[in-house]
């Protein structure tokens, strides 16, 4: 029972990471009907930026917010420069652009920062809260931060004019133009936000998995699974999916061992796509032939 509780809480911590990355994926999907294969590498690169800032002596939280801001800017630039030109191109072209981005970010990180694994600091104390044996302070803190970020994003989209405009642009770009919304810039903002959320996820997970250029590939896979499970066009679903997948991963991992984690993700992905492609909360859309 003890062990189960520990696994669930641990699972919620990783689940928060998956939920954040899944949310970033869904945000871009909703606006563009595209899955950003480079989401993980963007987060990884942002985490390296945070690392560099900390190495240079910048205090942790200053580095945190600065990195989030830089990641936001990077996301906006990438959308305007790389993605916008292939907006209406066939799917293969867009997928290839994303793969190119993945590869470039990965190799840039390897080039600039080398492939040696680096430790990444955690802002939370190493002693567990109240000496409990169920969850480390970092896991708890991580859950807190990711929930805070998700709440902020929710409030932004639901209650601010800009959030409303972005939702409108994602749902109906033609009508959005008719009310004067600059749809192109809304997309860029969406990418910026997605990159920023990814950066937070990367910074939160790095202390646990250690910083190296390939650190996000497994996480990205799980985020895909989470987003698909929740419904690729449902932000709430993606978040819920993330937490479910996180807990599932831990619990299943304790039963069949941790070596086949990625296979589990693969099975989940293929399973959801084949059995119920719209996920738990997504819309089942019928295309007219």
């Amino acid at each position: 029972m003890d062990v189960l509780l520990h696994q669930i809480l641990s699972g919620l911590a990783t689940g928060g990471i998956y939920a954040s990355v899944a949310l970033a994926l869904v945000m871009i999907y909703q606006a563009t009907h595209l899955v950003n294969f480079a989401q993980g590498e963007l987060a990884m690169f942002a985490t390296y930026i945070a690392w560099s800032l900390v190495q240079a002596g910048v205090p942790y939280w200053a580095a945190f917010f600065l990195t989030v801001a830089i990641a936001f800017a990077l996301g906006v630039v990438i959308e305007r420069v790389l993605v916008q030109p292939v907006e209406n191109a066939p799917i293969l072209s867009v997928v290839i652009v994303f793969i190119a981005l993945l590869v470039i970010l990965n190799s840039l990180a390897g080039w600039i920062f080398t492939y040696t694994i680096k430790p990444f600091p955690s802002p939370f104390p190493s002693a567990p809260l109240f000496g409990n044996t169920y969850v480390t302070s970092h896991e708890l803190g991580s859950i807190g931060i990711t929930l805070a970020v998700l709440a902020l994003v929710f409030v932004f989209f639901r209650f601010t004019p800009l959030g409303l405009a972005m939702r409108a642009a994602a749902q109906n770009p033609v009508s959005s133009r008719l009310v004067g919304i600059r749809v192109g810039w809304m997309l860029a903002l969406g990418w910026g936000l997605a990159a920023a959320i990814g950066a937070v996820a990367g910074i939160m997970v790095a202390p646990t998995v250690f910083l190296e250029p390939n650190m996000m590939s497994g996480i990205l896979l799980y985020a895909f699974a989470a987003a698909l499970l929740g419904g690729i066009d449902s932000p709430g679903g993606a978040v819920l999916g993330g937490f479910i997948v996180g807990v599932l991963e831990n619990v299943v991992g304790s039963i069949i061992g941790t070596e086949l984690k990625l296979t589990v993700a693969l099975v989940l992905i293929v399973g959801v796509l084949v059995i119920r492609p719209s996920g738990l909360f997504g819309k089942v859309l019928v295309t007219r032939v």
Partner: protein
């Protein structure tokens, strides 16, 4: 009185298919102009052309400035509101959010709040359903919502694409009455594309008759309404 909208030699195409072949028309400041014609004549394309939603050649001038070739959103920001065919409501958003989006380009909060009240005044049903998802409204209510959203812009020119489409006659009457009020009290000029020629001619001052992308005839609404042969051949009554 200078024309608010002045269009000369307008050609428009969808990809390789040409739809409009050199049209000349305009809307007077404070006036209501209607464009009539059969299905496929190019009426919807004309409105889309004014808004920059299709590829065009020719001159389109709004309040003296050329707007041809400009992006839709920048034309809208000049004060042109378009109620498209199909209404273009944001179906997953609430009625209130739809209206709020109409005022997206405005920053005068107090006036916006007043305008909300005004729209609810014209269309009380919208107030009842203000938190409801727009996609669940009836056809008539969606049309009211679409018109209100356009009016939230406080436009100088309102483009209306077949507002009577799919609506019961009584509702069409109400709607057109509101158009008249808006035109007279708020001085909103209108370009109205309609298949319901009778209603359109009663509302408008000026009318154009469109056939396969060309202006066949133009004149005051009264003249066109009175002409028996035109009425029978083109307007169906």
């Amino acid at each position: 009185m200078a024309r608010l909208l002045d269009v000369r030699a307008l050609h428009a195409q969808y990809g390789p298919t040409k739809v409009l072949h050199g049209m000349d028309f305009g809307v007077e400041e404070g006036g209501i102009t209607t464009i009539l014609g059969a299905n496929g004549a190019g009426k919807t394309t004309t409105l889309r052309a004014v808004c920059g939603m299709v590829k065009t050649q020719g001159e389109i001038a709004f309040a003296g400035t050329r707007i041809d070739g400009r992006a839709t959103e920048s034309i809208v920001r000049l004060g042109v509101a378009h109620v498209p065919d199909g209404r273009g409501t944001f179906v997953s958003l609430s009625v209130e959010e739809n209206l709020r989006l109409g005022a997206h380009t405005r920053s005068d909060k107090a006036q916006i709040a007043l305008d909300f009240e005004r729209m609810y005044g014209y269309f009380p049903r919208l107030k009842e359903r203000c938190r409801q998802q727009a996609g669940t409204l009836s056809g008539g209510e969606q049309q009211m919502l679409a018109v209100s959203r356009a009016l939230m812009l406080r436009p100088r020119l309102l483009l209306l694409d077949e507002p009577s489409f799919g609506l019961a006659p009584r509702i069409v009457q109400e709607l057109f009455e509101i158009f008249r009020v808006i035109n007279q009290t708020d001085r909103v000029s209108m370009l109205l594309v309609e298949q319901n020629a009778a209603m359109a001619l009663r509302l408008a001052d000026h009318a154009y008759l469109l056939e396969t992308g060309r202006v066949l005839m133009s004149g005051s609404a009264e003249e066109l309404g009175r002409d028996e042969s035109i009425r029978r051949s083109y307007l169906g009554y």
